[in-house]
Amino acid sequence: MQFGLSESQEILKDNARKFFAGECPLNHVRKLAETGSTYDADLWSKMAAQGFTGIIFPEEYGGMGMSAVDLSLLMEEAGRALVPGPFFATVALAATVINAVATDAQKKKYLAPICSGEARSTLAEIEAGAGWGARAEGKTTVVNGRLTGEKLFVPAADVADFLVVAAGSGVFAVQRNAPGVSVTPMPTMDLTRSVYAVRLDNTPAEKLGDASGMERATDVATAALVAEMVGGMQRILDMTVEYAKTRKQYGKAIGAFQAVQHQCADMYLETESSRSAAYYAAWALDHDPAQAATAVSIAKMYASDACRTVGNRGVQVHGGMGFTWENDLHLYYRRAKASETMLGDATFHRERIARLVIDAPGARPQGVH
């Protein structure tokens, strides 16, 4: 047993960090956020050139064939850099679902252009009154291969070339410019990941597969999201510790005050614990399928609460400065709040854990691996 990164994983993470630091510095992120469009075509093609857009997909579709852990390491660095735009929606959500449910021919058609960086996509899942994991409760209808309904909180729908839509018991591909598709922004707290309402009105769609096949794919996406949250938490922690070392009151660095220092210690504990859970969830997806769903929910549950409290503590330690628009903290804080609920908040995942471990005791792990 060895629960640390391998040398190649360290290299992947390190390279990703350097790449984002160079190509996506925070002032650039802020500029995009303030202009309202979070998509940067230039950054996108550079990310594709790095192989990021195909990282976990089979080589036959132009992917890199790497593991869920590798995706998570990449997402952690993306989270640290607050990478804006459609990357998560395209790679972690849409492409993962396509890879899980579609036929070989469909993967050539939809997955390959994502891997190569030509196409962007997203997953349209939730509807009014039907939360995460309640796909069957959605009201979107499928009639003669045409979809009618409204999907909400769809990330990156504006720049998607096609959308992956969950409707009834199926998963469909819908072209962004197909008849009957309208995309309306839902201006939200997170300035770096835009979400949209997508209305479908008798829109032609291609069925990719059954919604039942989405479960693991959304778990992969959830694990990736948790890793991204960990990167964000780490950055908030770093910024806060730095501030606590330099800001002086009463003649000394505020970090010397225990009330401040203990906030930082708790941020560290929450960040590291989220990281342990995130890495394990990603690992279990590839290596321990029986535990994966529980591991993913544990990670998302913990990180959903932790990213909020880490953010709260970070803002508090920054004092008035932490409440300003100029300070970068709120950009991370907003993302953290959005990620907290995306793919299920802590309450949602606690209930999922309860179903897995209280209702089905046989599913509980017996001993270590």
Partner: protein
């Protein structure tokens, strides 16, 4: 990253499982409730049996009676012991803290003399660090040792000394030079508790038990060869002990917590709430799931830490998050148990209505000590703040 067992680890696990199956005493669940003293002798016999089977000191060097295996195998050992519901070993502090300190800082003669007797429970150890006026601020301790020929003469008092009432030996930190800054005049010694001049008075704790004691020293003569590390450099040695206490000591606890958790889940199916099993109450479900998840995260944090220690050889200050995590988590879990069981949770072992022989009433009260022993939560947060995050000292 590979959380699967290696073939070697698996073989170790299987062999251990087989051994435990054949050897865990059947009467343990009855003996559990025995008074401390009788229980202790029972556990000593059990440890001896483990030693004879080759299962004590998994990661300790072979030449001193250990198994010479990896830290991960040591972890597997703790987990399997808890899974088999095996009794714990008697010499808790010798195995967890003092042995590793002797391995890290002792001379060959020390290792030869003490280690195997720790493993076979022939000699029980205690840790004489805290004093009435030196708790968190350990380095301010006043128990003194003055050199006289080939001996040190020790005077002073230790307190909260767990196992002091039964221990044969004690790792003490004493002041050998009062004229230098407080961290610079300390020395660690191995002290025979049978030496004339030592008196031990049991202290009763809020649970009603007397796990710890006060220990008084009056002109207690300790041979100079019993010094561990250099004279006046005992702070480094003491810190080594504390790092083990914080970093690796919690490993055996994780599965115990999980067993508690499984029991709570079981109870939630049996207990009724508003005419249905408590397990169907949404709030109970939320709370149990939260505990379950955190216990799992405790395991994962530990696994990451052990992997790091396996690479570096020693636990570092980041071990403080393990200490905070296990202590505060146990308090949360015990509180959820209290809520789940309602007033039944408070029944003592002497009540015939008590659930699980009063274990939850005891467990709740005992958990208050968790955030104090082995360095308080506040001190752990200071350590993280200063030594891990690099913030200025707060005091």
């Amino acid at each position: 990253m590979d959380l699967n067992m290696t073939a070697e680890e698996q073989q170790f696990r299987d062999e251990l499982r087989g051994w435990l199956k054949a050897n865990v005493p059947a009467d343990w669940s009855a003996k559990r409730e025995d008074p401390l003293e009788t229980r202790f002798e029972y556990l000593r016999t059990w440890q001896r049996k483990l030693f004879d089977g080759g299962w004590a000191g998994i990661s300790w060097p072979k030449e001193y009676g250990g198994r010479g295996a990896s830290l991960m195998q040591q972890v597997i050992f703790w987990q399997e012991m808890a899974l088999a519901d095996a009794p714990p070993m008697a010499n808790v502090l010798g195995l967890g803290l003092i042995g590793p300190t002797i391995i890290g800082f002792g001379t060959n003669a020390h290792k030869q003399r003490y280690l195997s007797k720790i493993l076979n429970a022939e000699e029980i150890w205690c840790q004489g660090f805290s004093e009435p006026n030196a708790g968190s601020d350990l380095a301010s301790l006043q128990t003194s040792a003055r050199r006289e020929g080939d001996f040190y003469v020790v005077n002073g008092q230790k307190t909260w000394t767990s196992y002091g009432w039964i221990a044969d030996w004690c790792e003490v930190v004493v002041r050998t030079d009062p004229n230098v800054p407080k961290h610079k005049g300390l020395t660690v010694m191995l002290l025979d508790m049978k030496t004339p001049g030592i008196s031990v008075r049991p202290l009763r704790q809020m649970t009603g038990e007397s796990e710890f004691s006060e220990v008084f020293f009056q002109d207690v003569r300790v041979p100079v060869e019993n010094v561990v590390g250099e004279v006046n450099q005992g702070w480094e040695v003491a810190l080594g002990t504390l790092m083990h206490e914080r970093g690796t000591f919690g490993a055996g606890l994780q599965i115990l917590y999980r067993r508690n958790m499984e029991r709570l889940i079981e109870l939630s199916h049996e207990l009724e709430r508003d005419g249905r099993p408590a397990a169907q109450d949404p709030l109970v479900r939320q709370k149990l799931a939260q505990c379950y998840a955190e216990i799992e995260i405790m395991r994962l944090n530990q696994m990451r830490a052990f992997s790091r220690i396996s690479a570096t050889g020693v636990p570092g200050p980041e071990g403080s998050i393990q200490k905070i995590f296990w202590s505060e988590l146990n308090q949360r879990v015990q509180q959820v148990a209290q809520e789940l069981l309602g007033p039944y949770a408070q029944l003592a072992s002497s009540s015939s209505d008590a659930v699980d022989k009063g274990a939850w009433a005891y467990g709740y009260l005992r958990s208050r000590g968790n955030t104090i022993e082995a360095g308080t939560s506040e001190i752990q947060r200071n350590i993280i703040g200063h030594f891990v995050l690099g913030l200025p000292r707060s005091y």
